[in-house]
Symmetry: D2
Subunit: 473 residues, 4 copies
């Protein structure tokens, strides 16, 4: 392994492009190792809070690199932090590594599950964790080689897909001393993001009634399904009277056991989303009233279990500008002939192809916007200044949470995107370490955007991490 | 006017058939007068609580006959009592005289409104009041002529059709000292009734929301119509889980004013019915919960105004047997050739002709059964022993509340039925006066059927008679 | 094994009570053998269309007794017939042997599953099959011993619990040549039945939509859940406008897979019932319209799979009278002290204890009535004259489809009831063989009740037996 | 009356500001006359298609000024055109004059209806018609005085508020030969508009069922209200799956007549809107499917009567620029002390005051945007190039369709706004007459925006103008 560059710099300015070029070059020589790690995690394909082998692989690499690892953060067996260095600033890099149910897929451009119905890395979190690891280790070496003060920390954040590991890590206090967090996510394009995600609250609404023989004594029963149906109908009437950017969607996870018995149990799983949490709070209150109305009208009992609560992402203008500058140094991705063929084949399976092949070669400028996804990184972004980076790990047009993205995440295209991400993280981090004004600017942007709003998770303080939330899937 | 028969009887046995025959004969000679009174009320066609001229006509006849008239009973301008005699027993006869909206009809067998859209006597209450008057006056003369102790009282009961005058008369205490009440109703057959009616509660449910421009700011509005719709949907889910003999039916009397405004007001008019009031109480509680759920889920305010509450009729076995015996003396109705032609013509307009022409000549035996109508006489029947008599004022097959019944009520067929009713009332009353054991038997039957159940009206004590309930029709 | 009695009778009168007493006595000596068979099937506890070992045990016994066995009737591996004799009359006896899911229970008066969540004989079909076997073999021996003409046939009918094996056996023609069928069922009382069951149709309604990201592009999706919900709402509105004795009940067996995806699939499982099939046909048409409306309004596709269709049972007056007479010879059941203790313990676990201990000692007279269950024996009863017998295999008050009934079916109380059933079947069958007038009377009763109505199964002709219907439970 | 200015101009350039200043000055001297006309129409306060006196007043003024009047256009008694001049270009000016129900209001800043519940000019159409008249006459005189070729035409367009008079005028062909149409509307601000309105379709959905006594035979009825309710529920489920800018809102205009009768008639009045007509077409199709589903599921019959169909307004960039330039010459409105007090008082009655007092003194620059209202002028804008002008006839913050706007429309503030409008129309028209390139530019802008889309009204060709649409209000 080639040693990290020694930089005779005064740590109060940005690194020169030349220095950064040397750093990138060094990383190219190490990319294969981290690519293999991403492949292993892709093969593990472990679901949220079950990512034992993935977390272990990442933390053992970090430990080997000299990081101090703290495990079982916030009571979550697959959450950990790995810290190296001392003094300020403290720069964090987040890594995720959980897979998605039902998306098992080989690294082929045609649908081919590895395990029928099994989980797969349809959101590319295998790359996410591995690139962040790659960046953290590189930064550590750079700090050490240049004897620069400061602390680099890797956050091993489990169960991003619906388990909200980051919320419980925030609650555990591990983000308290960090100055800036760098975050990236697999995508079909490259660029620093100024887009926001949707704030989201989700819950399971459970109704408890009184069973009775549905033919012999329907009047003796109190139908838990009726309670749920009245709630659902009420929600539909609600839609007209919430702000247009609201989203409310639900499925019925238990709609009664047998037709000849008045159901004494039913369950709805519901998400509500809005671009801003305070507005969402008001909407959520009304959702709960609909549930209470269902119970009231049907003489059943309703219990709500809050499952998720994610803030919308708070963009950071200073960090976006800094990332953008660095990504333009890193550059985009050029496909080999084989990769291009893979890309063309996989795009044939898409209904809507969006951006064209070739677009992955460029870097998109940061742009305000409203995404439609939700993520627990949103909560981090309201806690500390956070950068958000996209890298084109997926063929242009391939959406996340698809078998196509799972395929890309297992082959060279995914690994090329991962390298773009790792380099962008490293170059941005070294700027932050080298120039305190950058950290100040990030903080100023943070304060301006949040406008004195105090973050408070909507998850009740007593609620434990939903470690088994994937069991009933 | 021919004088009433003098009877040298010991007042401890039933009258002989011969004596009754003389009484009937006397009544035949006076029938034309009371027939004219029925025709006048038919022409007045006054709606509930508006029956000024009808009530005045009846009370002036009673006053002329020597009865002591008390007007404005229970705060109702068209409710009155007329009493004659002294001592026990006190026998009551009830008379109704309100018309129905929209049933204006000439005395012809083809549809021909007298006033387009105007009210008409589709329930034959013009005959009801006149026959009861006829009976009361006849009984008074018979009591006087024979110097028999006892009191005869006519109850002028307004607004039977949805205004529930009798409930407020009961509340006013005018039924407290009565021993037995005789009641009759126009029908398409003759007979003493053992059938029950349905207990009923009705109310208007009003929702109050917050208006907003439906295109510009639907989220600023809280839809009163949504509240009502959620209530309605909840009620539909309720249907499966109430006893099968329950009836719940409603209309939407206000569903918003203009499509481009989020409705801030809506109204539902709902009836619930069941054969027994205690069960209905439980059902009603659940109906109200559905309304509350509508308000809760839509963030609107709900107000309920109770409109009606009628008990199911409590049949009286002893009185039914006594009436049956007397009706067999009175006999049924034979049509003239013109009446038969009228009957045949009118029956052509019926979808379902039910019993045949000729059936009005007989007397049906008393039979248990469950009717589907509701009446405020039900409340009287839980207060004192009450007889219920049917007389064939309508052509066989003609249902109540139809233009066909309004036509019959205005011509000779109606008047023939009215005479059967008046005679049956008289013969039964004289038996009750003549034989104290009959009154005892009626009371025993009453106690047996009600089984210690204490009558209590579901109308709140503070609620006043709905004197204007016909205004918004 | 004690030989069957030889009867020097003229086959044109009923057997004498004495002869029957001898027959019963013989059966007592063989009861243990058949009790063991019932226990084995109880232990097999095989679900509908999976009753391989149960069917094999029964058919091997019949084959050993000289019956000609036909297997795989109507394409159902566990349906068979076993026939002995020749000429008329042909008398059939039906045997069922399928268990119920989730009712695994030891032969103890306290809840104790043998296999947690496993199947159990909560409807006592282990006794049903074994008693019918016992009867068939006894009758065969009696026919042989007395050289009486006629044919006895055992119908091995699988999957009564929702699989409707008998419908496919009727379709296969195996009931065409039979004169009378004798049927019995475990119960908590003894007696010939004149009660009817409810005609029933059940189906799975499946909606197919178009998936979309529920937050990003809800307008691109067509929700299969919406289709189902609109259907469900429509059904609730339907309730007011079907005859009061109708039953419609449903559960939602698939209500979408994940909240963040517009569901492209949903499923409702629905039963509709009514005392008569022609009326039910009309109701069913309207149920289907509700489903079509759901698809129409939501722009989804709806597919209906008919699962069950059972006729109401057509009682047979002549057979009920004959059975009643014979059951009075057989008599009821007396408990030992241990059995009484078992009964008292098990009754403590019942919310509603119904008839008292001791009632199982008597024979209930046949009585018209309307049950609330449904059975595929109903279809047989519209095809040929059918007797229906109840025997007190369950402790009084114990309902079918409970762990309590599963417990009884595995111990001596169940076996005592089974003996009552077997004897009643035998005595009735010998009367039918001995006296042709009895068969004529049964046929006359059948023709009178069905009143020219022609049986036709509501299952489409092309639909195969749902051999895997228990797989997705 | 002061004569119009004579202009020695070459008709191929815009008029100079000086010449325009002279024109404005002339108009100031005539403003009182047209102010009085606006006041008369304000007092007439005639509803859509009932505007006889208003239309007569306007057309008689035009006739007097030498215009050729064509009445009863498109079969509408209150629709007319008035034309003067010859040759091209043909410039149209539209005038509306219908009032709104329920908005009767005196010219006071406190709520004070002139006629309780009566109609009033809450949309300021009294000003609209009068200012357009003022402009048309002025232009005619200017054309005549300067002997300029070209034709000026006034379009008397009735029933803008829901009656869509313009659609039937387009259909009658009176817009075929026009080159450019100038349109203005009362507002609380001044400016040329580039905003669009919403395309809208509205209809009455009527359900026809089968009546039955709701207690005696609910199963014999087919509820028209059920049909409507199922439609309504289906619409609520639809909301999630239409584009977010869609609006669907409805009221129930008939929800059954009496609770004790299964409703055989019901009616819903529904609006659907979207920024673009082709998308709205697709949404409308789905609305109709919901209605059909309601009928299907309830076994009722559904009839739809299309009431309105308005296109979104197609802005015209060239005309907006031209209007903007002229309005800056005209300038805004300065209040007297009394007017300011009036404005301050009236603003106290507003929940949301929007723009401040003083803002009416300026001219807003043209800006793209999406309004939430709909208008039949939208259809004109897809037929010919159309300018849209706003003038501050209402106190800043006062919304249209309010008693506050009706008050303003009757007093000096309204008349000042009307003068701004009239001048802006005149100055723009003379530019169009003077400079053919302006008309060409307007046409080019029109072609560019409509992008080959061919206008076609959604009103069926056979449908007549809804001349009585205000009768059932």
């Amino acid at each position: 392994m080639r040693p990290i560059v020694f930089l005779a710099i005064a740590t109060s300015t940005l690194l020169s492009a030349d220095d950064k070029s040397v750093l990138q070059h060094t990383m190219d020589t190490r990319a294969a190792h981290y690519g293999e790690i991403s492949r292993k995690i892709w093969e593990f394909a472990e679901l949220g809070y079950k990512e034992k082998r993935s977390a272990e692989l990442l933390s053992s690499e970090l430990r080997a690199a000299g990081f101090a690892v703290v495990e079982n953060v916030g009571g979550m067996p697959t959450a950990f932090t790995a810290t190296w260095g001392q003094g300020r600033p403290v720069i964090g890099i987040m890594g995720e590594y959980d897979a998605l149910p039902g998306l098992s897929q080989d690294d082929t451009p045609l649908r081919k599950p590895l395990v029928e119905g099994g989980p797969g890395h349809g959101c590319g979190h295998n790359l996410l964790g591995a690139a962040s690891l790659f960046a953290a280790v590189t930064i550590k070496e750079w700090l050490a080689a240049n004897r620069i003060a400061g602390t680099i920390r890797f956050y091993g954040t489990p169960a991003e897909e619906g388990g909200d590991g980051k919320l419980y890590m925030i609650r555990a206090g591990v983000f308290k001393d960090v100055d800036t967090v760098l975050s990236w996510h697999p995508s079909d394009q490259n660029g620093a993001s100024l887009k926001s995600s949707l704030a989201m609250i989700s819950a399971k609404f459970r109704f408890y009634g009184k069973p009775a023989h549905a033919a012999a004594a329907p009047d003796a029963g109190r139908s838990a399904l009726d309670g749920l149906m009245i709630m659902a109908n009420s929600l539909e009437f609600l839609r007209e009277h919430v702000p247009v950017s609201t989203r409310i969607h639900y499925v019925i996870t238990n709609g009664g056991s047998a037709p000849n018995i008045v159901p004494d149990y039913s369950e709805m799983f519901l998400y509500a989303r809005h671009p801003g949490m305070p507005v969402l709070d008001g909407i959520w209150e009304r959702v709960v009233k609909c549930a209470q109305a269902g119970a009231l009208a049907s003489e059943t009992r309703m219990e709500m279990e809050l499952i998720n609560s994610s803030y919308n992402t708070l963009p950071n203008d200073a960090l976006a500008a800094l990332v953008d500058k660095n990504m333009r140094l890193v550059g985009g991705i050029t496909y080999t002939r084989e990769e291009r063929e893979f890309a063309e084949t996989i795009r044939k399976s898409l209904a809507d192809r969006g951006r064209p092949i070739g677009s992955q070669e460029g870097i998109e400028p940061p742009q305000e916007g409203q995404g439609s996804a939700s993520t627990d990184a949103g909560d981090v972004s309201w806690t500390v200044p956070m950068a958000e980076i996209s890298a084109a790990t997926f063929v242009p047009g391939v959406p996340a949470h698809s078998w196509q993205s799972a395929a890309c995440a297992g082959m060279s295209i995914g690994r090329k995107g991962m390298l773009v991400a790792a380099k962008s993280l490293v170059l941005t981090a070294v700027d932050l370490f080298a120039d305190p004004k950058q950290v100040e600017a990030a903080k100023a942007s943070f304060e301006k955007r949040r406008a004195a709003f105090e973050y408070r998770s909507r998850i009740p303080a007593a609620q434990k991490p939903p470690l088994t939330y994937r069991d009933n899937k």
